[in-house]
Every structure is written in structure tokens, then in C-alpha cells.
């Protein structure tokens, strides 16, 4: 039987490890993705509706359940495709222009845009094989 439980606080049976439900909601990731850059497809995800492949190294992730505002926090890590000692970076909200990220694209409540640059050549955008993104924030 499906059920709904309304509580303000959770504790273990011994009465320890108290956590307020506001912390459960606020402290949980609301979206994450393991993205295959060359194919532009998700290996696994939470709250993802689609991925937009704009250009080499430049993607947008679109969520199924929108955020309450655009002030959410994203963290992104990526692999370096050719040599692990290469320098690789992720730029939040960068839009490719003339082969380098020059324009800022503000996030929306459902779309987050980013750019992967570096790898074997500094300043060159590239499709990392492994791109992982987490999003913490308030759902609508």
C-alpha cells in the first residue's frame, strides 16, 4: 500500500543522529548526470529530461522537475581524454564563440549550460568521455 508520512525530524531508534526533514530535502542532490561527451548521452542520471550538444565540449542539461530559482549550485568534473596529466577545465554557463568560451549564458530553472576546455591543448574545447554534474538547490 502506498503511504505518506509527515514528520519534521528523523532520528535513529536510539534517539541519535537527528536530521530535520528540511535538511533531508535541502541536503539531497536534486539532479545528477554521468554524461558520455562524445555521444552526448547519459550513462545514468537523476531528474534529467534531455541533453543538448551545442558544439565540441559544450552541453546543456535539461531537468524534468524544474528548480524554484536559478540560484542552484552545480559541481562538474571531467576526464582528460588523451593524457591524465593534461589540464582540463569546466566553465559554468560558457557559450562557445570562435573556438573559445567567450560569452556567458545564464542558467534557467531547468537548463544548465557548461563548457569543457583544455585536455591536450589549452584553450581547446573537447568532448570528455566522462563528464559528471551534480546539482544542489531548491525544487519548484
Amino acid at each position: 500500500m502506498a503511504s505518506e508520512l509527515r514528520v519534521n525530524t528523523l532520528k535513529d531508534a536510539a534517539g541519535n543522529n537527528s536530521v530535520a526533514m528540511t535538511n533531508v530535502a535541502n541536503g539531497s542532490a536534486k539532479a545528477w548526470i554521468n554524461l558520455n561527451g562524445p555521444t552526448g548521452s547519459a550513462r545514468d542520471s537523476l531528474n534529467l529530461s534531455s541533453v543538448t550538444d551545442h558544439a565540441s565540449g559544450e552541453f546543456s542539461t535539461n531537468v524534468s522537475s524544474a528548480f524554484a530559482n536559478i540560484n542552484y549550485s552545480n559541481t562538474t568534473s571531467q576526464s582528460s581524454n588523451t593524457d591524465i596529466q593534461n589540464r582540463a577545465y569546466t566553465f559554468v554557463g560558457m557559450h562557445q564563440s570562435g573556438g573559445s568560451g567567450t560569452a556567458i549564458v545564464a542558467p534557467t530553472t531547468s537548463v544548465y549550460r557548461f563548457l569543457i576546455s583544455g585536455g591536450s591543448t589549452l584553450g581547446t574545447n573537447y568532448d570528455a568521455v566522462y563528464i559528471d554534474v551534480h546539482t544542489m538547490g531548491d525544487l519548484a
Binding site: 503511504s3 535513529d12 554521468n34 542520471s45 537523476l46 568534473s77 591524465i84
Partner: protein, 137 residues
């Protein structure tokens, strides 16, 4: 009315591994299990390879300069989890420093790999932190 629930375990009714939590805006829900971090690490590669703190790590392996493997206590269900890694620059804050997912070796169910690079060379760092979200086995 304020309320308090004391339990040692939470399990979904329809699906044991799926519990919905109402979001902050009160109009949508998020999946409790999928939103929880399944593995995190704060680690010092310089001072005798020591954990600052960790969740779901059973041990580590010093693979080489700047690279550490963390073995999990509870495995993930697949290789498709999403990990984030960041680290502290050591020699000179003007150095180009970054930390990366270690390619294929990162994508196993049993361990997570940390790699710190500084000025183009693998370097041990005093602080490397990682967190992973995904599905537990």
C-alpha cells in the same frame, strides 16, 4: 504539529529502494535514495596518506604520485555513477592546478580514483575531496 520519527531504517512501500520527498517549493518530489551521496572522501596524500573523514570507504591504495584509489564498503550497482573531485594546490598558487576523473579506472563499482595534477605534473596534495552520487547495489 511538530513531529519526530525514530527509526533505524527507511524503506519504500511500493519499491523498497525508492522513497519520495516533497521538494522545497511543495509542488514536486525528489527521490530520497538517488539524491543521497553514496561515497565521499577527504584525504591527505602528503602526510602519510590519511583520511580526514570519509563515508563508505573501506581502504585506499596509493597508486602513485597524486593518485589514490578508494575502495568502497558498499558497492554501487553499476559503473555509471557521477563523481566530483577537487583538490588543493601545493607548490605555488599561481600554478595551473586541477584534479580529474581518472578515466576508465574511475568507472568501477568498487572504487573511486583521485588524481591531482599541478603545473602539468602529477603531485601529491594535502587535500583532495571527492563525492559520488549513483545507485547502490
Amino acid at each position: 504539529m511538530a513531529s519526530l520519527l525514530k527509526v533505524d531504517a527507511l524503506t519504500g512501500v511500493t519499491t523498497a529502494g525508492s522513497i519520495s520527498v516533497t521538494g522545497e517549493g511543495n509542488s514536486t518530489t525528489t527521490n530520497l535514495q538517488q539524491g543521497l551521496a553514496k561515497h565521499w572522501v577527504r584525504f591527505d596524500q602528503v602526510n602519510s596518506n590519511t583520511f580526514g573523514d570519509t563515508f563508505n570507504s573501506s581502504s585506499f591504495t596509493d597508486v602513485g604520485t597524486g593518485q589514490t584509489l578508494f575502495t568502497r564498503t558498499s558497492n554501487l550497482a553499476n559503473d555509471d555513477y557521477a563523481a566530483f573531485i577537487t583538490s588543493e594546490v601545493q607548490a605555488d598558487y599561481a600554478n595551473v592546478s586541477n584534479s580529474m576523473l581518472a578515466g576508465a579506472s574511475q568507472l568501477t563499482t568498487s572504487f573511486m580514483s583521485a588524481y591531482h595534477v599541478e603545473a602539468g605534473s602529477a603531485t601529491d596534495t594535502r587535500t583532495i575531496t571527492m563525492v559520488a552520487f549513483g545507485d547502490l547495489a
